[in-house]
């Protein structure tokens, strides 16, 4: 059974040649692979290091102010209306002070704050709990701070819904297609399918073509301010450095990127931005 040195070298040599040859062969078999394709940088896009939003509640005065933002968002993104609050799909919605900033309310606070509605959306947290729990990495954090969801990967386990402390995520218990009116459908944006979770994306598809998020465009002037938190001269940072703002549930440590200017208008005058 033993082989001598000469035979061993022969076998080793032949194996090496066969190995190198087969690489070429495999390359030939993969003739469908592309060679010259590439991606081009998108020069139209709005970019940032960390996108953030300031919600100035003093600018929202009538119920229509809220509804216009909600409608704009839900129409743009083909958000269905199941007609049942239990399985409602919401990207941007409203709730009371007590529910928005739990633990902060007391019985002597101004009536208009106590009873007013607050504009709520995904907080695009710096430490998103939803991203940590997602078993398929369908939910992930982009480099620009946006917490994004890859619908192709979502398996509908709803861990993210349990993890999110802000209730920003909704589950499609039914086929959403059947609940969007034919004439309302935005043909440039997909719908979702039954069994996936969805939420606000800070309008990544609009940022990519140089547009502000849909809700920001529809909000009363200065009501929703969108900008780069890492850029000291951005509109967002100017407001944050001059006006007192709070975030939802800061003690949980998720570091939300949505800030609220709370208070009746006389207390929250935003200085003119130079």
């Amino acid at each position: 059974m033993s082989i001598n040195r000469r035979e061993f070298l022969k076998i080793a040599g032949i194996s090496t040649i066969a190995g190198i040859g087969s690489v070429g062969l495999f390359d030939r078999l993969r003739k469908n692979a592309l060679e010259a394709s590439d991606y081009s940088p998108n020069l139209d896009a709005l970019t940032a290091k960390r996108w953030a939003m300031v919600v100035d509640m003093s600018k929202f005065t009538t119920p229509e102010d809220y509804q216009k933002c909600i409608n704009a968002c839900h129409r743009t993104h083909n958000v269905p209306n199941f007609g049942n609050p239990k399985d409602e799909i919401k990207w941007i919605w409203t709730d009371t002070y007590e529910h928005t900033f739990p633990g902060q309310e007391h019985e002597y606070m101004p009536e208009d704050i106590k009873h007013r509605n607050f504009m709520l959306l995904c907080n695009h947290c710096q430490n998103p709990a939803c991203v940590r729990v997602c078993p398929t990495k369908a939910t992930f954090k982009r480099k620009d701070g946006i917490v994004m969801q890859d619908m192709h990967r979502c398996i509908g386990c709803r861990f993210c819904m349990a993890a999110c402390p802000f209730g920003a995520r909704s589950f499609n218990y039914r086929n959403p297609r059947e609940f969007i009116k034919e004439e309302d459908i935005n043909k440039e944006y997909p719908t979702r399918m039954i069994g996936v979770v969805e939420k606000c994306t800070f309008c990544t598809e609009r940022l990519a073509v140089g547009k502000m998020p849909a809700c920001v465009e529809e909000a009363p002037k200065g009501g929703l301010v969108f900008g780069d938190l890492d850029e000291p001269n951005s509109e967002v940072r100017k407001i944050l450095s001059t006006t007192y703002t709070i975030r939802r549930k800061p003690d949980l440590g998720t570091e939300p990127s949505v800030f609220y200017v709370v208070g009746s208008s006389e207390f929250s005058i935003v200085p003119e931005i130079q």
Binding site: N32, L34, S37, D38, N42, M148, R177, E188, T204
Partner: protein, 134 residues
């Protein structure tokens, strides 16, 4: 072997039945699916510009890999502009780019997919082009 004759006859009948579809179809060519690429949108283009993102041969064999690459690149890396092997730029979007020319899902996508019995689930979310019912 008890009842050997019966068993062998039974086996022959069984094999004949099993292989019947093969004999029956010998010499008959199945109609090849021929996806149509003569949509009004393509007809409107000048002849020189009637080109897909990549060559016909590549798209035939590799459109699914290309689309997979596109969706990952757009959704996960936010890279949305594709430069093809001719250096031409394309917006990476099934719903907004592919369909712009191939507005005939039934005569284009479905033709081959039905023939091959594959069921891609693109259109459960992406909105398919409006077609005249034929």
């Amino acid at each position: 072997m008890y009842d050997g004759g019966k068993i062998i006859i039974g086996l022959i009948i069984f094999l004949a039945l099993l292989t019947f579809p093969f004999y029956y179809n010998i010499g008959k060519v199945n109609a090849k699916p021929e996806p149509k690429i003569d949509t009004p949108e393509i007809q409107k283009l000048p002849v020189g510009e009637r080109k897909c993102v990549e060559s016909k041969e590549f798209m035939r064999g590799g459109h699914m890999q290309l689309l997979n690459e596109w969706r990952d690149s757009v959704v996960r890396d936010d890279k949305r502009i594709y430069v093809n092997s001719q250096g031409k730029k394309h917006n990476m979007s099934l719903q907004n780019e592919c369909i712009r020319c191939h507005s005939n899902k039934k005569d284009f996508c479905d033709k081959c997919h039905n023939y091959m019995a594959v069921k891609p689930y693109c259109w459960t979310c992406h909105i398919e082009p409006k077609e005249k019912k034929s």
